[in-house]
Each structure stands twice: as C-alpha cells, then as structure tokens.
Symmetry: C2
Amino acid sequence: MSNGEDDAAVRARGRRPARPSGDDREQAILATAERLLEERPLSAISVDDLARGAGISRPTFYFYFASKDAVLLSLLDRVVTEADAALRAAFDAPAGSPREGWQRAISTYHATFRAHRALTVACAEARPASPEVRALWGEVFERWVQRCATVIEAERARGAAPAGPPARDLAVALLSMNERVLYGSLSGDGPALAEPDVVPVLLRVWLTAVYGEGPR
Amino acid sequence: MSNGEDDAAVRARGRRPARPSGDDREQAILATAERLLEERPLSAISVDDLARGAGISRPTFYFYFASKDAVLLSLLDRVVTEADAALRAAFDAPAGSPREGWQRAISTYHATFRAHRALTVACAEARPASPEVRALWGEVFERWVQRCATVIEAERARGAAPAGPPARDLAVALLSMNERVLYGSLSGDGPALAEPDVVPVLLRVWLTAVYGEGPR
DNA sequence: GAACGAGTCAACGCGCTGTCGAGAAACGGG
DNA sequence: CCCGTTTCTCGACAGCGCGTTGACTCGTTC
C-alpha cells in the first residue's frame, strides 16, 4: 500500500515517544541492506550480516524488523512509492500527444527501477517467498494496469485506437512484458535486451499493440 | 541443453553396470518431487520429505541427487525437451499461413507448460537461486529467440512484415511477455490473465508487433 | 572366498533462524 | 534524589535443514 503506516505511525504511537536514539539503528539496517544487496543476492545475506553491518547484535536486529524480508519490504516500499509518483506524473503531464505519454511512462518506469537495480532484482527474487512483497507489488501493478487500461479505452473512444481485446487484458500483458524485460536486463541473466535498446523496443510493442489493427 | 548426459551417460559409464535395483529409487524421488510440488513450493519441501516419500533415508537421497535443485533440474529437463520438440513441430508444420504458425506456437507453448503447472512455477521460482536451472532455461529461451527472429526476418524479407526494431530484440521482448504472463496465470499471484484469455491476448500482441506499422 | 563396488543409514557438524530472559540506559513522576 | 517504567541490548538457547563421514550389508566377479 505504501501507506507508510507500518513505518511512521507505529513509530509515533508506539515506540520512541521522546528519545531519538534508536531510529538511527533502523536507518543503519536499511542502509546496510541496500549496500550488501549491491554485491550479493538476499539469500546470501544473513540477518547477522545485516546486524553487524549496522553495528548491533542479531537479537537486536529483531527489535527493529521482524525478519530479513521485512527489511526488503521497507526498502521496496520507498522505491515503489517513488515509481508510482513518477509514473503518475508521466501520465498526467499536459504536454504532447498520448503517444508521447506512453513514451514518457515507459522511460520513467525504466529509469526509476534502473536507479535501484540491486533492490529491484532482489525484490523480484524474493517475491515468490514473501507474501508481503507479493502483495505490495501486486497492488502497484494493479494500479498501473487500471491506469493504462483507462488510457487505452480513452484512445479507443476517440477513435485513435482500434477495437481489440479488453483494454485491461492488453495492459496486463504489456506491463508483464515490461516487468520481465526490465528484470532480465537488470539481472543480466540469460538472453536479455541491451540497456539502450530496452525502451525503444518496449515502446514499439506498446504502440503497435494499442494502435495497430488486429489480424486483418 | 537437455543433453541428457548428466542423467543417462553418467548412469551408463559410472553407476549401475549390471544391477537395476537403484533406478527405481531415482524415479521414486522424481515422482515424489512432482507430487509434492502440486501442494507446496519447493522451498517448503525438504530433502527429508523427498527421501521419505521415496522410502529412503536422507543420506541415501544424496546418493542419487546432489541436491534438491538437481531433482528439479532433472524434472525441468524433461518438460523443456518436450516443449522444445512441440514448439519446433508447431513451427515446422507445413499447413497454414505464417500467422497460423504464430498461433500454433503460442498455443503449444501455453498448453505444454500448463500441463506441468506445478513444475513450471517451481522452476520459475528456483531460477534465481539455481545457476543450473538458470542456464538450462537460458539455453532454450535463446533457441526460441533465434527461431522467432528467423521467422520475423523471413516475413520482412518477403514483404509481409514492415521494418522495425532488430528481429532479435522483438523476439526477446515478446517471449519475455509470454513467460511472465504464463507464470502469472499459472501461479495465480497478483493481477493475471484468466486462463482462456491468455492465448488470444498474447497472439494479438505478437501479430501487431510483428506485422503492425510502427509509429506513423 | 576374497576383493570390489553399489547401496544404505545413524550420527555428526555446520550455519542459519527466531526467541527468552536478564540486564543497561534513559526518562518521568513522586 | 530515588524508583518505577519504557526503551533498548545482547548472551545463550532451541530448532531446523543441509551436506558429509564412516561403517555396514549384500550381490558380483575373479
């Protein structure tokens, strides 16, 4: 949800009514996690690594986070909020044709996650194992699906795009493509698109899928 | 590679020169793995579960497989070989237009992996952690990319498809879409396409991407 | 019948996770 | 100024899953 409640509100009402000493530790853990993720996957990072990196002992770690995954979730929450805001801005930007809107959205999506490569890859890999990560990602994905579907329907309504599969289905397929292609290109695993080619190729597929005639 | 060497050749030259008793155990382990994967993810299945399910003790398991992942790899190898053969057949089938070829290929892809839902999902989830799984999947993926790229180039050469991004890049993007959409629909996680909609929607995107004009 | 190799398992060591209970350190009211 | 309360800290424990070791059985082979 990226509500920030699990972070801020709990902080306010529960812990830390006056003293600000332990907040640093929490930040230190997050920073350590981000740093270690640059060099190895989450599965190769133990709670002990995180704790030592933050200058505390392992049990103390559990005072701040329920698990390793909770740290990742907290990190993901920030990035996802950032991405969502950037994406909303890209869509709502007044200037240019709708096609330029797609272009802006795809570049923004790509740029945001590329700026947090290690975290993005780690989350993609943790998703199957962590219900929370799955839920959080599912929510933003659903939001983007709806946003895209709305735009597609608007384009169809004004006659700019032809009829086709349900706009929602198209959006799911295309966003899935973005996700997988981006992951491949960031993780460097297997056959992947080279960095500079990612956006133009994705854009091309989006444009033909949205504006192209179906089988004639 | 699905070369079968790690399975068959090693079997022939190393172990089992005469006695056939232990082969059943190996099959029992594979069968147990496939059965247990129907009900829970690989991460929730221990080597002990596999061993007990096959009626042997845990150390004995290691006589047959190097690890849990090796079992999965062995299972994946079979499915991937099957999928590759089916896909090759779909492409090489003489009848119909090239567009029908795409349709056959996508349905075949979908049908094959759907028939092994649990295994497919497990492999997708194990891929980040297992270099062998990653390598095997990477190989078949690359093979499919090349096959698709070849067809796209042929279509362009005969004037049926317009110029566009490098055929290889297009193939990577579209196959990535297939992979992610199929995984989503099989794992039932997050926003996904409903089973019957998967093939038509994917096909539509493929056709517009390959045959549609780019931004005009 | 000795030597060999396939197959089997109890027992071990390791690294990881998460928890418990006993403290130290800071506040807040009497 | 002391005392209870809350925040924070960690040593030590319990448990699980992995992969290995070493010894033991049993059929085969020479």
